[in-house]
Amino acid sequence: MATQHAEHDIVVEGLTKRFGSLEAVKDVSFAVRRGEVFGILGPNGAGKTTALECIEGLQEPTAGKTRVLGIDTAAEPWKAKERIGVQLQASAYFDYLKLREILELFGRLYAKRLSPAELLEKVGLAEKIETPVVKLSGGQQHRFAIAAALVNDPEVIFLDEPTTGLDPQARRNLWEFIQRIHGEGRTVVLTTHYMEEAQFLCQRVAIMDRGRIVALDTPERLIKGLPVPYKVRIKLAEAQPPELFKGLEAVMNVQAEADGALTLASSDAARTLPALMAWSNANGRRIDHLEVVRGNLEDVFLTITGRGLRD
């Protein structure tokens, strides 16, 4: 067993967590490889945070095993906590302490620690070292939470919705820091309900819905596995009936849009596009507008659950 998971930093087997009659996490199993950025994507209330907190040793699982770095986090949470970093969703820090003081205080709680200056450097807050935490902007507070999670130089870092509540620019900015931390050789596990975030940051994504993992793979393969991985939108100079394109290479169905455009659902854009061009040339029909949209994780979620991520 141990050798089988030698390259795995996290192994979760049959994790179940019940609160009274509510089953927040149902029989969840997955493994996270060393040095991987692993994402848990799902809508609010899917059970992402509960699952994460069970793995971190913050909550006791009702059933199942959670091992981090080979340590059973339910049996020996102290041992695991020494070696992991945790950023909690919407958690704040002591209002009246400066960043340096908070990082020093948290550093004291661990055997191994990084200096406040070094930590703040990692998240671009070096010049704020003597600032109280309340004086930081929203994005800076999120970055500080990540710095605080790195205080013990952890091998594995857990980020629970690290960019929730941030504007798109601040979010992109934070992604860079997360990539940099991953570049230091740390395993990163994050939860998110932003499909762009999962797609951009994660090597593998577990899609979670109503307490269960409904899909788990690389974003690439999850999208490839969609029945309709591509959508080809065309607008013709003269409108044509949708049926005309149904027989085109790799086209699965055609939908007429309200603005007169047509959307061809394609299983392989590389085959549909040449066929479309050939038809246009052969019949002398000019295509005014052509757009190929790749399917995304949102479509994956929609296909599996029949609902959107924000529903």
Binding site: W78, K81, S91, F94, L105
Partner: protein
Amino acid sequence: MLLYLVAANLKMLFRNRQSIFWALLFPLIFVVVFGLFNLDETPTTKVLVVDYSRDQLSKSLVKSLDDIETLKMEEAADEAKARQDLRDGERRFLLILPQGLGEDVAAKRPVKITLIYDESSAVSAVIIGLVRRFVDGANLELADAQPLLNLESQGILSRQTGYFDFLLPGFIGLGVMTYSIIGLASNLAVWREKKIFKRLLATPLRIQTFFAAVIVSFLVLSLIQAAIILVSGMLLFDAHFYGNYFYLLVFVVFGNLVFLNLGFIVGAFAKTVSAASGLGNVVSLPMMFLSGTFFPTDTLPAFLRWLVQYLPLSPLLEGMRGIATDARPLWDFPQEMAILGVWIIVTAFIAVKVFKFR
């Protein structure tokens, strides 16, 4: 580790202006306000006089009465008006000296002096006694009689203590109690709301260490608080402290532990800061009034007095007052220490049971 946490905690408490106001300034305001009232001066009673003789004897009589410390004689314009003042409650006493007082006394004719008083006045008996004694003395003197029985009253000034000296330990108890219960409970509510507890739970820190640090830092702050109250009372308003400071400290720490446990219990039930201060007041206000912070509990109904002595603030105040004004040693208060000890154990047990870290 513990010391580091305590230092960080104290730093936070001192940087929180609101918390520091309640801890240090608020009790000081109590001390100053109460210190400014001259609480120990006996009030003087005004007595109206209608003097119909206006001779030497009547005048010296009025003057002698006026010389008595607690009496202030006021010449009334006329008797009818003076009687009306009495009925209206404007004045409580009226002395009427008849006409020809000096002549009648010289002729050894008995004279009737009338003292009209308000029966509802609490000091009537005292004033009547005072005037009667004065009249008796005057009689003896006028009769040239030698008094055979002389009462020599010797006042022994044991220790000079006044109402303010009674109040000062009350303020210490009040300050320690409100800050420990309300201050701690609000702090816990803030930390819970901000998920700071949960964040700490994600570190290898033991919960017990964290709580120990919180308790130690609140203890330190409350000792500073007690010292400020005591010193300001003594320096600004000449309050008296005759006892041992260490004994006082022991009592303050004992009481404080009970209140901190109560703070944890309140903090366990209050989910928001406003709920914490509200619930904290519900716990501390009745104690403040019942346990004799401002007045001795002797005048409470017997049942309530019996009950009140077991509230944690009561033995604390009892002990601190005994130490401060009577210089009694710690071992003079086995019952008080026992009551506080039981409270500490019981509240600690409940606090551990009900307080959840997340």
